[in-house]
């Protein structure tokens, strides 16, 4: 523009004066007294007592050098209470977050920049956005089959080697380990300490799950005591959810909450509403196994041993009785057999004796007929020669020899005068 075009009615302003004028104009339209809502996507965020945020149009490309940028800031006096509210609801202003800022325009002359002072943040809107993103994450995980992936992992019947992802300084840690260590079972706890809230927590939790998965524990427990949504935001983290789904070890969660379950809970193999409850569940798993596999077995073993010994004792006693009776029966049978034989022998002997007696009597009677005394009585005599032999032939004697003649009542000697043949 040529200098001769300068209007005489429009004085030339110094820079400062110009900014004063501009500030007055902006303030009259968009200043402290005329605040308004502005929506934008966080492209850069920086916090150092105060909050500094660069807002751009949602969905605009970072490569677009001409896209409008609003340099917003929130002074510490207002940012601190806002920050606490956001944290309580688990909201973090991170690049990509679409946010509604309420505030007013200001002009910072030393840098020639128009800024936007934030006095209020649309938390409800942000919550809706967080919830929407959470639902989108859950839908994505479900679509990929990741909600059920870890649930299909087999759990050891006796999960005594417990991998623990927790912060050891927290009550949740104490509550959980107290249950396990107070159970009387020999739990071995392999702790990987992590932050359980804050920006660093998700990455640490992911690494801990992966480390414990490689370590070869029976189960991995992720525990965290109760807290606000903001405190528990790490457990809605996509990376944590994917690490749980990808774990070849069953992941149990004990994340204290009173509202919605965390995404980690949804993806986990087993979830409990508090670290204490999770500890109780694990102890009850081991107790149930112990009951069935140790106590009942011991009881059955005792009963079986007693029954077996009773049975064996009864067997031996029965065999002893049977043996005694069998031998007694056998001996009695032999005695009966011998008695019968003896009886038969006795009868047989008597019969033989009787028969012999009868035979003898007959013989005796027969012999009686031949008794020489009877012949002698009839007048017959018996002559014996000098040699004592009975003379039955003439040739046995000679004349002059003496012979003896036996008669019924005695005998006499006689001398042979002459032999006379018949």
């Amino acid at each position: 523009m040529a200098p001769d075009d300068v209007s005489a009615t429009e004085p030339i302003l110094e820079v400062g004066e110009f900014y004063d004028l501009l500030t007055a104009q902006l303030e009259s339209a968009y200043g402290r007294r005329h605040p308004r809502w502005v929506r934008g996507e966080v492209s850069k965020v920086y916090e150092k007592s105060h909050l500094y945020v660069d807002l751009v149009d949602a969905g605009s490309s970072a490569s677009d050098a001409k896209r409008p940028v609003l340099n917003a800031h929130c002074w510490a006096s207002q940012w601190n209470p806002l920050k606490r509210r956001l944290a309580a609801d688990g909201i973090t202003l991170a690049p990509g977050t679409v946010v509604n800022f309420f505030g007013y325009v200001d002009l910072y002359a030393p840098q020639g920049r128009i800024g936007f002072t934030v006095t209020e943040i649309d938390v409800a809107g942000l919550l809706g956005d967080v919830a929407r993103r959470r639902q989108e994450l859950i839908a994505r995980l479900a679509h990929e089959g990741l909600l059920e992936a870890n649930k299909r992992v087999a759990v050891s019947a006796v999960p005594l080697r417990v991998g623990l992802v927790a912060s050891p300084q927290t009550e949740g840690y104490s509550d959980f380990t107290g249950q396990l260590l107070g159970s009387g079972f020999g739990f071995e706890i392999v702790l990987v300490a992590t932050a359980v809230q804050g920006e660093a927590a998700p990455a640490q939790i992911v690494r801990a799950i992966q480390d414990l998965d490689r370590h070869g524990v029976d189960i991995i427990c992720v525990v965290r005591g109760g807290g606000s949504k903001g405190d528990l935001a790490a457990f809605d983290d996509e990376g944590v959810a994917r690490a749980i789904a990808a774990s070849s070890t069953a992941v149990f969660t004990g994340i204290g909450h009173t509202g919605d379950e965390s995404v980690a809970d949804l993806v986990a193999h087993t979830r409990a509403i508090t670290p204490t409850k999770l500890g109780e569940e694990i102890v009850s798993l081991v107790t149930a196994w112990y009951e069935v596999n140790v106590r009942l077995v011991a009881k059955r073993l005792l009963a079986s041993s007693e029954a077996l010994l009773d049975e064996a004792s009864e067997y031996v006693a029965e065999r002893r009785r049977t043996m005694i009776f069998a031998v007694r029966d056998r001996l009695r049978a032999e005695q009966r057999q011998l008695g019968a034989v003896r009886q038969r022998l006795w009868l047989q002997a008597r019969h033989t004796l009787d028969s012999a007696t009868r035979t003898l009597a007959g013989t005796r009677q027969l012999l009686g007929a031949y008794d020489p005394s009877r012949r002698l009585a009839q007048g017959w005599s018996i002559v014996t020669g000098p040699d004592g032999r009975v003379v039955s032939l003439l040739a046995q004697v000679h004349a002059g020899e003496r012979v003896n003649v036996r008669v019924s009542d005695g005998s006499f000697d006689s001398t042979i005068d002459e032999r006379n043949g018949a």
Binding site: K299, L302, L309, A312, V316, R319, M323, R330, L331
Partner: protein, 70 residues
């Protein structure tokens, strides 16, 4: 007259002796020998039983502690 072998082996031999008596197969000459053998087996089984019972008695309280542990 030693009794060797395990419980079942001894019990089988004893059962065979008893069966031979039941079936009248034992002669008087064999009776004493078989009775003596059966007695030896019975005494051996009783001795083993007593030993086993004593050992079980020792172990039973330990098992009972497990079974009754609350």
């Amino acid at each position: 007259m030693s009794v060797t072998g395990d419980w079942n082996e001894a019990a089988n031999e004893l059962n065979a002796i008893v069966a031979s008596f039941d079936e009248g197969e034992v002669s008087v000459d064999d009776l004493f020998t078989k009775l003596e053998r059966a007695t030896a087996i019975i005494e051996a089984l009783e001795a083993r039983l007593e030993t086993t019972k004593a050992r079980v008695e020792e172990l039973a309280p330990r098992i009972a502690r497990v079974a009754e542990d609350e």
